[in-house]
Symmetry: C2
């Protein structure tokens, strides 16, 4: 009988999520584990190999039922060489040969890619991008991650770092970003930065029902801002609308850069649902050109926190289906 499952791993600084996923993108079993990342790469990779076997077992399968493993990791990294160069939230991860190390530990063929790329690939394969071949996904979290699918393949580029759309410049000489640039998209429209901008305005004397939190020194993100805006808070509503305006500018630039049929929004900020997507669509309509009708459909992701593991497993399935475990898919 043909092997029925692939393993998807979403490696993060706080949590490692692992799922057993079938060829249609359905999760048979999934678990989340504490990374305890401060201990460095070797013990964590030992644990990951054990956790993979645990998840296979919990899904009532055996290693022989599994075609291989796909891993989404923070980067920068090289999918083609299977190496993590470094990762902000994984201390001590410097030039780690993740694919080889995991292959040795599990005996299973392994591919890897950027976590933002594989979340996008998950939505493309089994979520909000199903049925279309060209999508771009923006993950609106602490920063803004992104993944670009062109004709069913992940876009990598020469340095294998394409689709870093959170760091495209939307405001010349704008807000300073931790990446060293100024005016990056993620400084205006990530879940964390929306909260940060409201807090800054409050500290500059603007009235808001979130002033109490700022006084208490509480850090908040987009959820609190959306709540306050919904209750009529003028400052929160303004900053939220500005974030949607900058996301719409990003969507216009994505339209002209990649010409996808769909743009999908994921991450913490996307939990605002219609409150997010309708505002982005409204700004987009006012901002985009009238030369040619090539507007993408803008919508909310559907896989939630499982996009990463589903996409990682889908990437493994793709390597299996195309017979290129040694030369991972994508371009």
């Amino acid at each position: 009988m043909a092997r029925q499952y692939a393993i998807g791993v979403d490696l993060g600084g706080t949590t490692v999520r692992i799922a057993l996923v079938n060829h249609e993108g359905h999760v048979r079993h999934a678990e989340s584990y504490r990374s305890q990342a401060t201990r460095g790469p070797e013990p964590l990779m030992d644990d990951m190999a054990a956790w993979i076997l645990e998840v296979i077992d919990a899904g009532r399968a055996t290693r022989d039922d599994v075609v291989g493993v796909g891993i989404g990791s923070p980067g920068p990294l090289s999918p083609s060489r299977g190496i993590v160069f470094k990762a902000a939230n994984l201390p001590g991860w410097v030039n780690v040969p993740l694919c080889r190390a995991m292959r040795e530990r599990t005996g299973l063929p392994t591919v890897m890619d950027n976590d933002g790329n594989l979340a996008a690939f998950g939505e493309y394969w089994a979520g909000a991008g199903k049925g279309v071949e060209n999508i771009v996904m923006l993950t609106l979290g602490t920063g803004i991650g992104a993944g670009v699918v062109v004709n069913g393949e992940l876009l990598h580029g020469h340095f294998e770092n394409a689709g870093e759309l959170g760091h495209t410049i939307v405001v010349p000489d704008g807000r300073r970003c931790s990446c060293g640039q100024r005016g990056c998209l993620e400084q205006y429209a990530s879940a964390a930065n929306v909260g940060k901008r409201v807090a800054e305005a409050i500290r500059n004397g603007e009235p808001s029902r979130l002033a109490g939190l700022v006084e208490e020194g509480v850090t908040f993100g987009s959820r609190k801002v959306v709540e306050a805006a919904g209750e009529g808070d003028v400052l929160a509503a303004r900053i939220w609308d500005e974030a949607c305006y900058y996301l719409a500018i990003a969507c216009v630039n994505i339209q002209h850069a990649y010409n996808p049929s769909r743009i999908v929004m994921a991450g913490g900020m996307s939990k605002a649902g219609a409150f997010l997507v309708e505002a982005v669509r409204r700004h987009f309509k006012l901002l985009t050109w009238d030369l040619h009708d090539d507007s993408p459909d803008i919508r909310i992701a559907v896989l939630g926190d499982d996009a990463g593991v589903i996409g990682a497993a889908g990437w493994a399935w793709k390597a299996e289906d195309e017979g290129r475990w040694d030369q991972p898919p994508g371009f």
Copy 2:
């Protein structure tokens, strides 16, 4: 004996350039003809077919030596369907089945693509992009055209209109563009708009040695601005430097969007050579991130006005080499 040539056609509102090009990208013979575009598509396509035979003949070849024809056309258009939807400088061109019509007239297999795409493909194949697989070309003329080569293929996207980088927004709520948007790159950094911005500043009372031209009602582009800047004109130098700054922002965004190894500048403004590319590189270095060393090499195109015909012929060669005349290359 194997056939030695492909025909490249660069179709424009003023001029049609046609070249006989060998498999190495060398031009055996080329001619330019007046389009007389006001007469509409049918007579022009009749002429183009006759001109193609003329160029073959002048190159001391016969139709049997030619594998096929590649045509670069203004758009929007569909390369896969071989149709020009419309073209600003070609009156009466509405939904013209250019590939089929030319195939019927010449008896030669024919592919087509956006003119900016094929100029980029020309530089990739036989010019400033030779030897690398991921390049982006910006053509700085009246507007800003662009073409994106990913792993040796032209990027098209779902609506076949990817790489319209002249219309990415670099200044939120900025200068109005003829496309209906505001703040498009081409409003700040095309050859024509650099001249226009100097003229506007002069009309607003700023001193410049180009004031005489403005008084006489003469329209000028980047060449005059570069000359004046070279002679110490403060206004011209400032507008030129601003244009290079916005081009550098575009290069940062190209870096993060496509991650190419090379960005090539072509078109009228690129005739400034080092005066352009060194200023863009200087701004780029100050603007780009320090997270990861994935900066593209920024340089000037080398094929000049023949990039279009060479790229069109190269596109025909690619269709021949890959045996897909009926299903043109690219994605």
